[in-house]
Amino acid sequence: MSKPQAIIVGAGFTGAATAHDLALRGFDVTVIERGDICNGTSGRTHGLLHCGGRYAVKDQESAIECIDENILLRKIVPQVIEPNGGLFIALNESDLQYRDVFIQGCEACHIPLEELTPEQALRLEPNINPKLLTAFLIPDGTFDPLRLALSFAATAKKNGAKFRIFTEATSLILDGKGGVIGVNILDRASNKPYELRADIVVNATGAWAGEIAEMAGASVPVKPTPGVMVAYDQRFVQRAINRLNTPGDGDIVLPQRRMVVVGTTSFEIDDLDYVPVLEDHVKLMLERGAELIPGIRNARVRGKYMATRPLISSGSGRSAARTFKCYDHKETHNIDGLVTITGGKATTLRAMAEGTADMVCKKLGLNAPCTTKDVLLLSYRQYYSLPN
């Protein structure tokens, strides 16, 4: 029997991870991406390997996904992770009032935590705000976004997946009976159109998922929600520093290489393909970031940028769940041959891929279990050296 064919649209985190998962399950996988790998939301991710603490009070489903996947990613892709942990710190009375629900939430989601005195916290991280009132040590980490995706893509390639970059999906090929049977493609490097057919098309375009689904006459309740981040030119801390309170703007500072990155904000947009970096948001990042690490005030800005989260629109902005969702469009719009994966967090990319591949296998009547929990990923550099 010949291998089942899958086309994945989008080479961000979910596209790369789904390619890896489906390739391991015996699929002949082709990933198409209109730019280079990770040029959209994934590449600009803040880079926090969430332990789930941020969601432990209000969104426990996401929190549990985060801690489980955090532990797994440390095992399968240590090459791109700074595994140094994180702190949640309280700076005022309102933060302190959050302490008890935070402890309860973390315990409910099996997130290990240890409360530190301000003195202990300052010994670990001398550059955090010395006026802190309490701190919790939790198993956060940070990662290099592009290299995280490349590691999945490299391993997928090793197992036969093909990555066609600068290759845009211009429309979906329909069979006239309400099914998707392939993708019309424009090779942007040569300006030549061609078509590609497959048993299943996976729409892994994140914030752009609505645009691809629409090509088949389907829709996805994804709400693109950008946020601004600012990188500063000094590595003040070794751990992710979080504000102990309900998630808000600029309440996470991460170390990355010689920098720290403060993020993020949350707003709504019309045009997905170009989102300006709003200057008042940049100023807010400085104000909020300096509350956590006062030295940021005297640091130089290294980069100001934004990324557009693909939130599932069950709520709006901060209240929307961070969990992910797979849609079988046979069920949502009676369109066969097309599934969409969107929502989620970078930290949960492997689980998102597992859910998507499970759905694909079920649709095609295949019994092929997921094995990605146990497969150590190849060096990200091999993405560039393995043949396509």
């Binding site: 590449g43 490097a189 170009y274 560039y384």
Partner: protein, 242 residues
Amino acid sequence: MSENWNITLKVSRQKEGEKPHFDEFKIEVDPDEYVLDAVERVWAFMDRTVCFRHACHHSTCGACGMRVNNVEKLTCITYIRDVTHDGGVLKLEPLRNFPIISDLAVDMGSLYNRLETVGVRAILPAPEAEIENPPATWDSADQQYIRLADCIECGLCISACPSAATSSEYLGPAVLAGVQANGIKGNPEMLNIVDAEDGVWRCHSAFECTAVCPSYVDPARRIMNLRTQVIKERFTRLFHKA
């Protein structure tokens, strides 16, 4: 907010099988935007066929290197103000010494291959990563911190290097810098790789790599140091054998 500028982006274009040429795009910019922001707007609003590489937009991924007015720049952190003026031109070309995929996008496979072959570390213990702002002292607990290396594998040094232009087999600054950081003591295999025509001796000490490095790696100094390591290792082995 500063006054906006009107500038011309002169973008090198080359599709498969075509001859290279420049296309000009007149665009209004805030001079405190980055060069990459302007390129992205050209793609979003003016010409959807422009190909370029980018991912992180804050100098950690190394994807967006280009030649900007003849100098290698990481475009996501290069302020427009620093490379042109109101009414001025930004000439954008792909990095040199790599094959062109399309327009401004190059294939960096050779660099990644070589980095992998010589085992350049992508993450390493934080005290080894030459942090400028460490805690007062690195105590034993600090040794446990791991961090991503300074080198972001952007290829700017390879593009700027006059020696890389003369030999496609030259290991190149980023790769030699990575070997220097690892050290070659007691590693005869690595010694033979770098003590070679296309290793440390191909370098002409032009220091262009250090001039364009956006990530504090200082490859030129590291290559000079690696030469010292090579000579030391050769002497040691000479006497050891005798």
